[in-house]
């Protein structure tokens, strides 16, 4: 009896969590208010400024048992503030210039809350209604941005049940997989007795078409998600063929053509060519127009991975840099990068709205034939109404607003590149084409020594510079004042030697010139504390210059 009464009381309190809001003076109510009032201050106040080791943090997240008894909202909120928020990353800080994430416009906070409160599922009309036409319009807007077709085109296809101008997805990886899935299924489509790869699978498809193998072509700067795509789609990572790049990290067209000839001689089918706009590590843009020519000539699906750089199309000033993208069969763009919406907004766009028939799926209970359910043309099933946030941003910021944001980010990168070049102890490794660039720290005497060093000595110096770069980047991250990322390139000016570099993405509109100067000053300061790589470098340089 006591037990039943207890259960009833708990049930009653459970009902309350679905019906009674948090009081404004509750811990959670106060946090919400603080975020609404001053997001930047909330993040500054609550994210701890110094680094705590991952091993330390793991101790707070170590219990694999779901707690049996409930916890008060306020107590749990206090825990989250102290242990989770404090030890999270301040991705929107103007001094954190190593990521592709940036600050978010304020209006997206309350709009996100509306989106989550509505909890629509865009897999089908029945659970999304107006969110379905809205998402189709957003895809239409992006399609229009890339392909600039006429009004008739969009009126015919944007809301057509059997067509899709693209697919909204959780991120660029899913977008790239979706594009290459479409490409694979189109290349190995039904023919005669063969029902197509979607129905019969790759093994029978290859036997039917008589190819020795299938490959995807992309420059050596391709994003790792392409290798993942090749694995998932059953093509195999080895069949993602990396074409060398030129001195500007762009695919070498001559090498590409040679590779195609070589493959064809072996009866290997290159079914897809991927162009990059821009590359994840250097931000450079492949010669898309020439690649489109080659893809057309060879009957390959031409996909452009513009996950990061695609946002630059919002600026009419930058548009020419991406010339040829309008000839791509498919394009990936991430809105959570330089379109300034929260994480979880990738997209793939298709030039031909009928292309998605290659991956069309139906079921009895949803996605019935003839329905406009978005889920019949997406890799994912259930999805949220994220498209609403991009729609709102397009309207509230406007294309002109985006143009300014994009242009000033690129100007800022040009400024920073000049600043780096003006220092006698830094070296620009890849110049910015958009707002991304790489550089490293090289003491002046080492620069001088490099001019007189033998190839073996250059190797030795390079190895030490790599160690020093990694040392500086890690220490700077740990100190928590500012953050740049790092990657590993093979720049032609260093005879393709493996070169660790700092990488910065200057998308945050709040990053100032003073901050950029401070980042360099701090790196110089950290370098001077290096007790292994720097002394070795200086002594080696000394010897060489003696």
């Amino acid at each position: 009896m006591v037990k039943i009464k207890q259960a009833e009381a708990t049930l009653e309190s459970l009902h309350r969590i679905f019906t009674v809001p948090e009081a404004p003076n509750s811990t959670l109510g106060e946090i919400e208010h603080a975020i609404s009032q001053n997001l930047n201050r909330f993040l500054q106040d609550h994210i701890a400024a110094t680094d705590c080791s991952l091993t330390e943090i793991e101790k707070d997240f170590n219990n694999p048992t779901i707690p049996d008894a409930p916890t008060f909202v306020s107590d749990h909120t206090a825990f989250l503030l102290e242990k989770l928020v404090a030890q999270s990353v301040h991705t929107s800080s103007p001094r954190f210039i190593g990521h592709m994430t940036s600050a978010l416009p304020y209006f997206l906070m309350p709009l996100s809350k509306i989106m989550i409160a509505l909890n629509q599922n865009t897999v089908k009309i029945e659970t999304s209604k107006a969110f379905t036409p809205l998402e189709r319009q957003v895809l239409g807007m992006l399609h229009n941005l890339i392909y600039q077709r006429n009004e008739d085109f969009y009126q015919s296809w944007m809301h057509s049940a059997a067509h899709s101008l693209g697919a909204f997805c959780s991120g660029g990886t899913i977008a790239n997989i979706t594009a290459l899935w479409v490409a694979r299924n189109s290349a190995l489509k039904a023919e005669g007795d063969f029902n197509g790869v979607a129905e019969e699978g790759l093994f029978r498809a290859m036997r039917h078409y008589g190819y020795e193998d299938l490959v995807i072509l992309v420059s050596e700067r391709g994003h790792y998600s392409l290798k993942k795509s090749a694995d998932v789609l059953g093509i195999g990572r080895e069949s993602l063929v990396a074409i060398p790049t030129d001195e500007n990290n762009r695919i070498c067209l001559e090498k590409l053509s040679e590779k195609i000839v070589e493959l064809k001689a072996k009866n290997i089918k290159p079914f897809a060519l991927v162009g990059l706009a821009g590359t994840t590590e250097t931000g450079n843009i492949d010669p898309l127009d020439h690649m489109a020519d080659i893809a057309e000539r060879e009957g390959m699906h031409f996909h452009v991975d513009a996950a990061w750089g695609g946002a630059s199309l919002m600026s009419n000033n930058q548009r020419p840099k991406l010339k040829g993208i309008e000839r791509a069969d498919s394009v990936t763009i991430d809105a959570h990068k330089q379109l300034y919406v929260p994480m979880g907004a990738g997209m793939v766009l298709f030039k031909d709205p009928a292309l998605v028939s290659a991956i069309e799926h139906h079921a009895d209970y949803i996605l019935r034939k003839g329905s406009k359910d978005l889920g019949s043309h997406t890799l994912e099933g259930s999805r949220s109404g994220m498209a609403m946030l991009l729609f709102a941003s397009f309207n509230i910021i406007g294309r002109q607003g985006y143009e300014l944001l994009i242009d000033q980010s690129i100007e800022k990168a040009a400024y920073f590149a000049d600043l780096v070049e003006a220092q006698n102890d830094f070296e620009l490794v890849s110049a910015p084409e958009l707002c991304l660039m790489t550089y490293r720290y090289v003491p002046p005497t080492v620069k001088a020594a490099l001019n007189v060093a033998s190839p073996e000595h250059v190797d030795a110096i390079h190895t030490l510079l790599n160690d020093l770069t990694i040392f500086i980047q890690k220490r700077q991250r740990e100190a928590g004042h500012s953050f740049v990322s790092r990657t590993c390139l093979t720049p032609s000016q260093w005879d393709r030697r493996t070169t660790n570099v700092f990488r910065v993405v200057l998308a945050n509109p709040l990053t100032t010139r003073e901050i950029l100067q401070a980042v360099l000053d701090e790196q110089r300061e950290i370098a001077s504390t290096s007790s292994i790589a720097l002394p070795k470098l200086l002594s080696l340089a000394d010897t060489l210059l003696r």
Copy 2:
């Protein structure tokens, strides 16, 4: 000069959207306040009660051009309220019992805002820090819920760089694809000269292993995402072999064994067996323990799709129904279903934490070897910090709280099944095993007539009942008072005839017995307005009973 001044002014106003919050008395500020005060009333007030045709709604989302000039936040918010929110679906209404989405606890609204404001990217530590150990803990909790391994196990593997207890993903479809990707890569692993399917692809894998074909086995009630997985993974939809079900919509073990013998005789490799817990259409649970025996005997990967039913493990009272799930190699669970978190929280769990090595990926700039970056073991790349919401729900609701929520949903379904059976003009088609059931409307004279009808007449009646079911379901949805979904089954009590049915999921804790009665009353009322199917049915019944 004027142009530059204009640009500067616009840049200034652009900075404001990143730094100045919406005023509390702005349109958006007021909406946010309204949602915080009374979410249910906000949704009731703003979601229009009656259905508007999709064609009508599309007119509001018809412009494929990104607006050139910016719009005031308040103006755009007014547009969103009037055109988007008003025409969205009230998924959290207690009278909308056709979906697997339900009401959300209040505390998740402000927590979602914190999550979005932090904008972490869980693909790597550098952009997520504490969110990485938190997500690993959440996966550990789910793993523990399913597999109940000892403390040592979790201390060894939960935070281990080269291992993963599972993968958090956007939804059940990605979870199922991930599980079958792991299964495929494990079945066709490296051996001798062969580098494994991940590296070399399916074509070379099949030649190496010498199989004639690969198949995945699942009952005919399998979710459509499994077919999609078979397509994406290059196995082919035809190679998803559907095994017939028994009278309770559970896989027929005898037929399963027969099929395996048949496949092996043809040198076709069944590499994965999928168990359902429960099925999307009827909520039934496959005999998991017996399936585990068969999978073990045949060396197949045993995956359990518990996207919907897995939440029932939170109740010790329901746990026995899923017996055998702890023997699965992988399990899919969606937290955005009956774990009551917002859309976008799927998971796949792996019994063996080393299994993910089959899909491990690395790159130079992220996911470096030895890092604890979550992205090296996920299909997706960039992802949000959704795991935080599930973590908070586990703590705030507690396992006991979930147990009550689950138990009462199942009691409610049993009650509704009894209620349906007590009506002389309704028929229960599939009884609830968890909180999902199906039924249809059958006028009393038609029931009587069915007893004396010839097989041909039964066919005719069935077709008319199907039409009537579809008519009622559509009209009820359009009227907007309540919503049940529908699907198409082949129940054994009707000699496997195609049978359209109403489908309800009683997960919303706010759904009352009065509401359930009202749903039936409304359906009866709508049936009486049928001007084609109902008169035909009654006249046919009349003839037969004469």
